[in-house]
């Protein structure tokens, strides 16, 4: 096998055993790798009755066919499990340094089950996997733990670590690589915590990988690197980070303000945007493996209540979640909140969104002083958020910590009034910081994404903003952001492309420079799949449909493909004020185009079979349908 190593480790933490799983090459080709391959393995091996945090639950890490090639944005990795936040399929993507290190150690992925009897870590040392004691690390923050692991296993080792939030099984706990790169969403950190797994460490001395056409890989890397580096998006990311165009997004109605009650605040846009971050706090940039873009920020806050040593800085999502969404334009507070979340191991989107919801609920009297333990939850009071609320959430401390650690949807159900209506989520997962009222395609994308409200599971975000042009599949038209026109049709393509990106484990920023034929060529040169654009797009759709089938097995249906009222109500100010999202119209048309059953929310047997999902169709549909 090329590109892929053909070897996946099966690790049972209860039995303390490690075995190898060798899948047929055809399975790799059909499901590509990353999230697609993980979804197929999940379908085949998961116990669908098992709770997300039970020993029986699967936790998987999976590389893509390109992982390890020395090209910007090609070495991400997927994590897959059942989500403790949504109860459905969980998937998350991470860059950093762990993915190529695991590939060089000889593995495409890891499938972890069981529960260790004591805090443990998984050590992958030149291909040998052992389960080690991690008692001395349990309870430590991610920053300290990562430093300790480097001291123990060497500077060249790289790790995935959970923090106290993961140990305490907060359902939106995350996993961090090098205390900077996150498997942020869906609560993967809690899944690791439930298995008593504090960290994974990999060390590999291998330097070379096997590719189907190494000369072509070399030539393409040489050709594509300068193009990716010089692309407008890359330049903005390099100069100002992922929040580089925040002020521009603010004008287009994309940036939520005060728990989505507004999507326009000019002053906040200026105060929080990436150039302000660069001017005030940037010390240097940082990267994922082999990336020339360097969108990561290293920041330092010299003085004030949020003073901070030099270290990882906030991404766009963190800037908004702990900035405008909570009614704050204090960028120093954002830097501190992001760092605290990283150390505690909490997803900044879900944590920030849950706090913003709580601020509104407190203002409305739906959360009382009795429930907060006397801690006032006031818009923009970031000292309280940073110093009190975040640690309470991670440690599930007090009534407030317990309430907010559930995430916004469950916390709302446990609170008063109509507070569920003004959560901003789908399937229980908080929406990322892109307001669907500034781009109506987002509304559809958030609702039908298998993992819950998400802007990276499909390519809609970039297709709607004009950052994509795919003439080879007929997508060469401009979309009007504030209408439903062509959104369902685009969403079919976006679902396939998003699945390709997450299965090939490509960075959705860097791959904006690539055409679909170039992605095909890269995958073929690396893994020898023999794709053309049509078969690659078909694989993308196959993967998307499979994920929908997994959610169906978990009890999700068409009615779960929805947004909360807050996300669907017309915007109140800015250029997007008063414009209705035609949500039902978009969803109905998308269902029609995808061949979905209007109740079950999955494709009918014939459609599934046409995509090569016969076994899956047999499991779901009676023979007659």
């Amino acid at each position: 096998m090329h590109g892929n190593t053909g070897k996946i480790a099966l690790i049972d933490l209860t039995e303390n055993t490690v075995e190898s799983l060798m899948l047929p090459e055809e399975t790799y080709r059909r499901f590509m790798g990353g999230s697609g391959l993980a979804a197929k393995i999940f379908w085949d091996r998961a116990d669908f009755a098992a709770d997300a945090l039970s020993p029986e639950a699967l936790f998987m890490l999976m590389n893509g066919p390109l992982t390890g090639i020395k090209l910007s944005g090609a070495s991400r990795m997927n994590a897959t499990a059942r989500s403790p936040l949504t109860g459905g399929l969980a998937e998350s993507s991470c860059g950093g340094y762990f993915p190529p290190a695991l590939r060089l150690a000889g593995y495409d992925g890891l499938i972890i089950t069981g529960k260790a009897t004591q805090p443990s870590l998984l050590l992958i040392n030149n291909g040998i996997i052992t389960i080690e004691d991690a008692g001395s690390l349990w309870g430590k923050g991610i920053l300290e733990c990562t430093t300790d692991l480097h001291k123990t296993y060497g500077k060249k080792s790289t790790s995935l670590v959970i923090g106290p939030a993961g140990e305490n099984m907060v359902p939106f706990a995350c996993i961090l690589n090098e205390a900077h790169h996150a498997f942020g969403r869906c609560g993967m950190g809690a899944v690791m915590g439930s298995k008593n797994l504090k960290a994974l460490v990999v060390n590999s001395e291998a330097k070379e990988l096997s590719f189907a056409d190494p000369d072509r890989i070399k030539a393409m890397t040489k050709e594509l690197t300068p193009r990716i580096k010089n692309h407008l998006i890359s330049q903005v990311l390099h100069d100002f980070g992922t929040s580089g165009n925040l002020e521009g997004h603010m004008y287009s109605g994309d940036v939520p303000v005060r728990n989505w009650t507004s999507n326009f605040d000019e002053e906040m846009g200026d105060a929080l945007t990436g150039s302000t971050l660069s001017d005030r706090f940037l010390k240097k940039t940082a990267t994922c493996a082999y990336c020339a873009v360097a969108c990561k920020r290293i920041v330092q806050v010299d003085e004030g209540p949020f003073a901070l040593d030099e270290g990882p800085g906030p991404e766009y999502e963190t800037v908004v979640a702990f900035g405008s969404l909570q009614g704050s334009s204090d960028l120093a507070a954002v830097c501190k909140a992001g760092r605290v979340c990283n150390d505690l191991g909490m997803d900044t989107i879900s944590a920030g969104a849950t706090i913003a919801w709580a601020m509104e609920a407190y203002e409305k009297g739906h959360i009382t002083d009795e429930q907060t333990g006397g801690i006032p939850l006031l818009w923009g009071d970031m000292e309280t958020v940073v110093n009190k609320v975040l640690p309470m959430m991670a440690f599930r401390k007090g009534k407030l910590g317990n309430l907010l650690s559930m995430g916004s949807a469950r916390a709302a159900r446990a609170s008063g009034g109509n507070s569920l209506e003004y959560t901003a989520q789908s399937k229980g997962m908080e929406a990322p910081m892109h307001d669907p009222r500034g781009g109506h395609g987002h509304a559809l994308s958030y609702a039908v994404s298998p993992r819950g409200a998400c802007h990276v599971q499909t390519a809609m975000h970039f297709m709607e903003t004009g950052a994509c042009n795919y003439p080879v599949i007929g997508f060469e038209f401009d979309l009007e952001a504030l209408t439903s026109e062509k959104k369902a049709e685009t969403m079919v393509l976006a679902a396939a492309i998003g699945s390709i990106e997450n299965s090939a484990c490509l960075c959705q920023f860097a791959d904006r420079s690539l055409t679909l034929p170039e992605i095909v060529e890269l995958i073929n040169a690396a893994a020898g799949y023999g794709y053309d654009v049509v078969s690659m797009m078909e694989a993308g759709l196959r993967i998307f449909h499979l994920k929908r089938c997994i959610n169906y097995r978990f009890g999700f249906g068409a009615s779960d493909d929805d947004l909360t009222p807050r996300l669907k109500e017309p915007a109140r100010d800015g250029d997007t004020a008063g414009i209705e999202i035609q949500f039902d119209e978009m969803k109905d048309r998308f269902y029609e185009l995808m061949g979905f059953d209007p109740v079950k929310g999955i494709a009918f047997r014939k459609k599934l079979e046409s995509l090569g999902l016969k076994e899956e169709a047999d499991d779901i549909w009676p023979q007659t349908i």
């Binding site: 407008l232 580089g244 004008y251 846009g269 004009g466 950052a467 994509c468 042009n469």
Partner: protein, 148 residues
């Protein structure tokens, strides 16, 4: 051969943009915000071929303005340049073209400090309302483009 729907020739383009940019660079909100960019931008057009340079870096040559405009080739060295068909620019100033899509499709070419120019996009958005007003004031209502 000039293929423009809106401009007879470069002189025609300079006349229209001269009037419009005069308004923009005197505008206390838009002009002031533009001046904070502190850059020199060269807009190059095709069909008809033309060049406009806006200096937001040096002190304005005229009182009451937040920048200086040069119509036609000049010796002022730009920090960033952008090249596009004049008709595309005409629709852009009506708020009818997505500049990101224009760049993605290669309709707009750019060079230099492009991130600095990108930061101007939200700043100039209010000027989209001024452009049709300027055309009307010039008696050129027929050049006003409406959304299809």
């Amino acid at each position: 051969m000039n293929m423009s729907q809106y401009y007879k020739d470069a002189e025609d383009l300079y006349k229209i943009y001269g009037y419009f940019l005069d308004r923009v660079l005197r505008d206390d909100k838009i002009g002031l915000k533009m001046s904070k960019a502190g850059i020199i931008i060269k807009f190059m057009y095709t069909d008809p071929d033309a060049e406009i340079t806006i200096d937001l870096k040096n002190p304005p040559s005229k009182e009451g303005y937040y920048g200086t405009v040069y119509m036609g080739p000049c010796n002022v060295k730009e920090d960033v340049w952008s090249k596009q068909p004049a008709d595309h620019s005409h629709r852009f100033w009506h708020g009818l073209e997505n500049p990101i899509a224009g760049i993605t499709k290669g309709i707009i070419k750019q060079g230099g400090k492009v991130t600095a120019m990108l930061k101007l996009l939200p700043v100039i958005k209010p000027a989209f309302q001024l452009f049709p007003v300027a055309l009307k004031e010039m008696g050129l209502e027929s050049l006003i483009v409406t959304k299809k």
